[in-house]
Symmetry: C2
Subunit: 407 residues, 2 copies
């Protein structure tokens, strides 16, 4: 039947100049996997999500079917945008209409669209000294010249930010915008205080520099007080606000969102390929959260806290007195481990993974990709493994670091 089943067709000279032969990501999982970026699987409300779909279909099956039969609205499910609007008012203290919110395939799509709307190749973009890798990749793809801002345990240091912008501007490289995860930052776990946020907003206005606020971890606070969103402190339009249901519910749902000044939204959405995100997942999320947000929080908070406690206690037991330091975040998924200056835990990462413990070395998060500042740091996800595995895995990590001369 086949006209050609033998010779292999050659694509030589047919590929676009922009394309590159990139190997697929192959992710290896260690026995103690602290390299992941996942919430606690045992708290995922699968039953609740399915029940929410069941309830929606039982209450109006034709409406549900029509909702699924239509290609989604460019902004995504109307019902989930309405719910998101209400949740932002009650949880984050600012009010935007459902039509000012765009749902996307995870918050990663939101961030990518905004980056494309604001970034020309060569533009300087500021971010915390250590930055979430997904955003780093998107910024690099847009040709951004990423510069890290000095941080301490409380996140971005406003005075350092102001000085850096002034210096860059004097050199003809005025930063285009600032990307930040202000709450439970990825990877360091730090949270910016309200005072620092206000100071940073003043600096942003002074230098006419928008803030891209990535609030994807805010729902995962299990102790202390949530700080006000940049967007709640300022409605001039200088803040582009991005958040997600991936951490609150499940990454596999792929639902994030953003809200921004109208022209920013229009220009960002102009880069969108295809229609809005999954209606099926949107229906499940809206139905579940509308009735169960508080009980869901009550169920996962103690789990996350216990996991963080186990990891931090094991760090104290196994790394105490070694000169290592680590963060003790009040939420999110990550502990940031800083070994003494001379310890190169980046170069031994693959071996340590083979021997049973996964982590992401700090070099992967360097804003400026200098390879200089992150070699003695690691991001440890405390949310995914059990408390027991957090305890055991950190003990093994110390042992392996010693074996490799890093401790």
């Amino acid at each position: 039947m086949a006209t050609n089943m033998a010779d292999s067709f050659s694509y030589d000279t047919l590929f676009s100049e922009n394309s590159s032969d990139t190997p697929l990501n192959v992710v290896k999982h260690a026995k103690y996997d602290f390299a992941v970026a996942y919430p606690a699987p045992e708290t995922l409300p699968m039953d609740g999500l399915i029940q929410a779909l069941r309830t929606a279909v039982d209450s109006d099956s034709m409406k549900t079917a029509q909702g699924m039969a239509y290609y989604p609205h460019q902004l995504g499910s109307q019902e989930l945008r309405e719910y998101t609007s209400e949740k932002l008012t009650s949880d984050r203290g600012f009010t935007v209409g459902a039509d000012e919110i765009a749902l996307t395939n995870g918050s990663g799509e939101s961030i990518g669209l905004v980056i494309q709307a604001l970034t020309n190749p060569g533009d300087v973009v500021l971010a915390e000294e250590f930055v979430y890798m997904g955003t780093l990749n998107q910024l690099r793809r847009s040709g951004a010249d990423i510069r890290g801002v000095a941080i301490d345990d409380g996140g971005i240091i406003p005075e350092a930010l102001d000085e850096q912008i002034a210096e860059l501007t004097a050199n003809g490289s005025k930063p285009k915008y600032l990307y930040t995860i202000p709450e439970h930052q990825n990877p360091t776990g730090s949270t910016l205080s309200a005072e620092r946020r206000k100071a940073i907003l003043d600096i942003a206005h002074k230098h006419r520099m928008p803030i891209l606020e990535d609030d994807c971890y805010v729902d995962l606070r299990f102790e202390g007080e949530t700080q006000p969103a940049f967007r709640a402190l300022d409605d001039s339009g200088i803040v582009v606000y991005v958040a997600s249901y991936s951490k609150l519910l499940a990454p596999g749902l792929r639902l994030g969102y953003f809200t921004a000044a109208p022209e920013v939204m229009r220009r960002a959405l102009g880069f969108k390929q295809g229609s809005g995100p999954n209606q099926f997942a949107a229906m499940a999320i809206e139905g579940f959260l509308r009735n169960n947000l508080d009980s869901h929080r009550d169920s996962f908070s103690p789990v996350l806290r216990a996991k963080r406690d186990a990891m931090v206690a094991s760090l104290e037991e196994n790394f105490g007195g070694s000169g290592a330091e680590w963060s003790t975040p009040e939420g999110g998924c990550y502990v940031w481990l800083t070994m003494p200056e001379g310890a190169d835990i980046a170069s031994i990462r693959d071996e340590v993974l083979e021997q049973g413990v996964g982590y992401v070395a700090g070099t992967n998060f360097e804003a400026d990709a200098s390879g200089r500042t992150g070699h003695n740091c690691a991001r440890l996800c405390f949310a995914f493994e059990s408390t027991q595995k957090n305890t055991e895995g950190i003990a093994l990590l110390a042992q392996l670091f010693k074996q490799h001369g890093a401790m």
Copy 2:
């Protein structure tokens, strides 16, 4: 609390050069909505999809939760890729491994990735004379110079294709690839015979021109015989195969896929932003189709056939003898209406929609956007409205065409 709640921040000079201030799509729905591209909502297996999730969670809740907690594999759900591999073998007659299939957010994402991998600005790309608008938009975004290939009721005319390629090549504009929907084409409803496909493959090899085969409607055949996929007739790698679960199940699930030669896949996936598509929808689809594909087909086929029959019968009754012609497709969603040469039904489209009948004018599908060939044509979706509305709506359409002097 706010540092700035009054002055509006100006983004002047901050937007990227590639961005444009594009208004959001606003889709108006007519009373008789033949403008949509939706399958029959009453056949959407919402209950079955929910039941499939229920079954998956009941059989192994921890495995399910872990599947949702992980960010999806770049290629998407392993289980759905395995099922898709089996379905391609049994339904489309060619075998590729699960690792040679990439799941995407609808087939639109697949097509967009492949276009980016193969298209430089200015490249000539061939397609049927009338082409699905989503693909046209993506081709234009990549700067392709789209040329329409002559078609008849049986789709692309191989001899015309061969001549056109030779002519373009002689003029220094050798076509880069051919995009085609060979089965139940959107918008014309035509299907290429096996003979034509073989002839087109020979022409493709002769001119070293890949074929981007969009098989998204193949599952919606309700009479006649399914023709072999280009990909089943040729495994040299010259065919890139794209298909979708949007039409078979529900557009709102946003799940399509593609398979291609390894380097094409790697280069296409290099343009992917973020991780694989929705695991939640993938789990529901795989669970449902593995047990219910045949019964689902048995349930929607008579519905689609009755809807096509109603529309075609009403066309005969109301357009017969007017000089109008229409296709009678054996599957898919669309009837293609061709009015006599002088009738400009593109210019009256908005008024007719206001008066109750929606359609998409042929000018929107012109490969070359000349505005010359589609003014007397329209795509009519028979799948979405009820048989009664198909009958009534076509009668009203004839009345409105007469009222506007187009008939």
